[in-house]
């Protein structure tokens, strides 16, 4: 059914764990309808068949951590009509952006037997730091429902229905008891974008910030509150430094606690 009208989809990988691409494969029931709507033209994780570009929609997973990646992403942009980044790595640099706060050369010499074989950049950067991105889908990993919505929106040529409000909205809608207020458990929910359905608070854990900052994140107020509740400065720093450590608001907030954490 390789009719000309079906948009061509490509899935690209940069520095990442493949979890976000797996989210696409895990869509199971939706994969067959998806294959009816788009032509899966390039998806090395799933199939070896390669259909030549250009592509109508490119999903890009992973961050840029090498010189080769920094060149390749321009190539991907060139052959893609619409470029959508998926996951914390592609949208904020991922957990590997922790290197941005330290000395990579030192790590390299300590960790590897032959450091001279390792070619890597000093910083892990999101795709949007290199090329124009049409839409960023957040999450570590991304949510399959949100991914299908983004693909449906691309196919139907409309704006994706992806909220940018806080995790607290989903937390209250599902009737979870607030762990911050009722247990004193640190929770990043108020500054984090919804998308997971408040999974962790529903299981009595604080939010880890997998979906990155919400649209108006007041990280300083949250940090002040954590401080009042007894969290130490090094722990406040670490709290903001995980999967989305490289996102601008979380990076900025964590750096406010560097001096006191020394």
């Amino acid at each position: 059914m390789a009719d000309q009208s079906r948009p061509k989809l490509a899935v690209w990988k940069f520095a990442s764990c493949d979890g976000c691409q797996l989210t696409l494969l895990n869509c199971e029931d939706e994969l067959i309808p998806l294959a009816g709507e788009v032509e899966i033209a390039y998806f090395p994780e799933a199939t070896r068949a390669v259909i030549e570009g250009p592509y109508d929609v490119s999903l890009v997973e992973g961050s840029v951590t090498t010189d080769a990646d920094a060149e390749r992403i321009h190539e991907v942009r060139r052959v893609s009509r619409r470029l959508i980044t998926i996951g914390a790595c592609a949208t904020s640099g991922g957990i590997q952006a922790l290197r941005n706060f330290s000395d990579v050369a030192e790590y390299r010499s300590v960790v590897y037997a032959h450091p001279e074989y390792i070619q890597t950049l000093a910083r892990s950067t999101p795709i949007a730091a290199h090329v124009t991105v049409d839409f960023e889908l957040h999450g570590c990993p991304i949510d399959s429902g949100q991914l299908l919505e983004v693909l449906a929106a691309a196919v139907q040529d409309r704006r994706p229905r992806i909220p940018s409000y806080s995790v607290c909205v989903e937390c209250k809608r599902r009737g979870a008891v607030c762990v911050a207020v009722a247990h004193g458990t640190p929770c990043l929910g108020p500054v984090t974008q919804a998308g997971c359905g408040a999974l962790c608070p529903a299981y009595a854990r604080g939010c880890y910030g997998c979906f990155g900052p919400q649209d108006t994140p007041n990280t300083q107020s949250l940090a002040d509150r954590l401080h009042v509740q007894g969290m130490t400065e090094p722990n406040i720093l670490r709290f903001f430094r995980s999967f989305n450590a490289g996102s601008e608001p979380f990076r900025h907030e964590s750096e406010q606690h560097e001096e006191a954490a020394l």
């Binding site: 009722a182 007041n218 509150r225």
Partner: protein
């Protein structure tokens, strides 16, 4: 109602009341402990009630505590109002199916459960009355809300131990239930024993009491006498003296209208997380948006109505952008709507003084303190 219809129930008599309501095909929903808070859930037995559990509430903080007694209603309001039952956080409005050029629209079927709400506080009775006005007494009534509302039986309870953030006395909404219930309980824990004074508020409630009289054992349900009534009155009077918070409502509407540019709005914005918790726990907030959920092939769609909040950026999105991009403007919208423009819109305050927005604000922002700050430094 004359006094003769009032009754005294022992704990066993309360169980008989629950049994009777269940036998009349009501799903009894009452307070119970889950995840460190008192929430509402279907119950069958008095053993599921929070026996001997109280709470400690303050700005941004809620903890359960052992009371050291046998009280079943010795706590104040928890995180959930009854809003989530009558006005659910997510509700299907209609679904649509495309077949070629034809689109068939299927309205959602409203099949409300018969709910008996046990332990409704006075502030929440007032909140339900406000929702009735907002949702059913305007040009286009909310049919699904009205259907659910017609299918509830309300058992209220007098507050005996108000929370650290309660201020119903300031708002004139409590702590003694004065309307909107079928039955009202007052829990008594004095030397005369653990018992409840039950007062009917409707003919339907009185009938349930009549049936209970015939059904329950003599030592579990008995006529009320004057000392019981006096003791019950005292519970409410004592509670009224122990409000955790107070709000000076004198001229509050004009005060807020006159201070739209007060520096306090920026001050609170420096603390506000724009997280929406205050609005979503508020039993009177009614704002929603719709989510159109389509499938990949564009052949089916569903329209869901979901709770929304004026703290969200997209809530005020008009063509080209958000009208309230600053958090100060969002907090001002919330406080001014609750306490001022609500009066113009619906004829009452939009706040019933339940204190939930204070307790459940992760940044410990307190609407009574913010208003007091504005009043003390009026421009």
């Amino acid at each position: 109602m004359d006094n003769s219809s009032e009754m005294i129930l022992r704990v066993a008599g309360l169980q008989s009341l629950i049994d009777l309501l269940r036998a009349q095909a009501w799903v009894v929903v009452g307070p119970t402990v889950r995840d460190g808070a008192i929430v509402h859930a279907p119950i069958e037995s008095v053993d599921q009630l929070p026996r001997g559990i109280g709470d400690l509430q303050d700005g941004g903080s809620y903890r359960l505590r052992q009371r050291g007694d046998e009280a079943l209603f010795g706590y104040s309001v928890g995180p959930q109002g009854w809003k989530s039952l009558l006005f659910p956080s997510r509700e299907l409005l209609w679904s649509g199916q495309r077949d070629g050029a034809d689109v068939a629209v299927e309205p959602a079927v409203v099949d409300p459960p018969r709910l008996a709400l046990l332990g409704v506080r006075s502030c929440d009775l007032h909140a339900i009355a406000i929702h009735d006005r907002v949702l059913t007494e305007r040009a286009v009534p909310d049919a699904a809300y009205a259907a659910r509302r017609d299918n509830i039986f309300v058992v209220a309870v007098t507050c005996s131990d108000p929370g650290g953030t309660c201020f119903c006395v300031s708002m004139g909404t409590g702590p003694v239930p004065d309307r909107g219930f079928d039955l009202a309980l007052t829990e008594l824990l004095d030397p005369a024993g653990h018992r409840f004074l039950v007062v009917p508020g409707t003919a339907r409630g009185a009938q349930v009491l009549d049936e209970l009289r015939a059904l329950a054992a003599d030592e579990a349900a008995m006529p009320a006498d004057e000392p019981d009534r006096l003791a019950a009155r005292d519970v409410g009077a004592q509670a009224a003296l122990r409000m955790g918070r107070a709000l000076d409502v004198d001229g509050i509407r004009d005060l807020l209208y006159a201070n739209t540019e007060h520096p306090q709005w920026e001050d609170v914005a420096s603390r506000c997380l724009a997280c929406t918790n205050c609005t979503l726990v508020c039993p009177t907030c009614f704002c929603t948006s719709v989510d159109d959920v389509g499938d990949l092939t564009g052949s089916t769609t569903e329209r869901w109505r979901v709770w929304d909040s004026c703290f969200n950026t997209d809530f005020s999105y008009l063509h080209g952008g958000s009208v309230r991009s600053s958090v100060s403007s969002r907090y001002r919208q919330w406080a001014t709507h609750k306490l001022a423009s609500w009066v113009d819109q619906f004829g009452t305050s939009g706040c019933v003084g339940c204190g939930r927005c204070i307790t459940w604000c992760p940044a410990a922002i307190d609407i009574t303190a913010e208003v007091a700050a504005i009043r003390s430094r009026e421009d």
